[in-house]
């Protein structure tokens, strides 16, 4: 059962902001009803140097949806390579925000990202195995 949302260290401050939006009107009742938790790496025992494979494994084992940026090279140890090589039909997807710095410059954009997040978490079961999902 999905535990909640986990922020990557390269995006923690922005996810803090998104979670504040998601837990305020008009969405706070839905957030409560879904019973989700928001966590940073330190909350789940991950170090800030944690490799992508370790993060991905923890998310699958403990049922966290990782939210991250995608500005890294896609070498053998990358998150993209980990998703491609290890994702199975029951694996939780990884969520990628398309335009991270824009979150603080446009409330309308931040709200679109929050709605897209709810569109995923309300029924994540039918999105397992999708690999990476792109938020607007």
């Amino acid at each position: 059962m999905l535990k909640g949302v986990l922020a990557d260290v390269n995006i923690e401050g922005h996810v803090d902001f998104l979670m504040a939006v998601a837990q305020a009107a008009p969405w706070e009742g839905l957030w409560r009803e879904l019973g989700l938790t928001y966590a940073r790496f330190s909350d789940v025992g991950l170090g800030r140097r944690a490799p992508d494979a370790e993060i991905w494994q923890l998310c699958q084992r403990e049922e966290w949806l990782l939210i991250t940026d995608n500005r890294n090279q896609e070498g053998a140890d990358s998150l993209e390579a980990t998703i491609r090589s290890r994702s199975e039909i029951h694996s939780l997807p990884v969520l990628t925000i398309s335009s991270v710095p824009r979150l603080r410059h446009s409330r309308e954009y931040a709200e679109r990202v929050v709605i897209a997040l709810f569109d995923i978490v309300i029924d994540v079961e039918n999105l397992r195995g999708a690999g990476r999902l792109y938020l607007p």
Binding site: G13, N70, Q73, G75
Partner: protein, 119 residues
């Protein structure tokens, strides 16, 4: 190296030795003119000013390579999107979100009305 902070590469691109944050994670904020304090406050609260300074120096010393990699990443990411199958699922899920929001709003209205009658 600066106080034990270095730039290394494990295959994800140049990154801090002390954090999984990469040069390319920080580069857009440098381009936007963010101060170290603003980067820490808005984006990456786990970083220290010293770590960001190490990345700034790396960018100054490797500007052409960093700009070229930034261009490649932007081109790559511009082509990435959800598959039509995923988009169809998300549209169905969106309907569920709207229905739950409406139901919760109605419950809230009914509770307010009941309280008004009691008052």
């Amino acid at each position: 190296m600066d106080g034990g902070i270095a730039i290394i590469n494990y295959g994800r691109g140049p990154q801090l030795s002390t954090s999984r944050v990469t040069v390319q994670d920080l580069f857009p904020y440098f381009q936007l003119g963010y101060s170290n304090e603003r980067i820490i406050g808005e984006a990456m609260p786990s970083l220290s000013p010293a770590e960001i300074e190490v990345v700034r120096r790396y960018v100054d010393e490797h500007r052409e390579a960093v700009l070229e990699e930034d261009r490649r990443i932007r081109e790559r990411n511009a082509t990435r999107k959800n598959t039509p199958e995923v988009e169809a699922i998300l549209r169905r899920n969106h309907q569920k979100v709207m229905e739950r929001l409406e139901a919760l709003s109605n419950q809230c209205d009914e509770a307010s009305n009941a309280q008004g009658r009691l008052g």
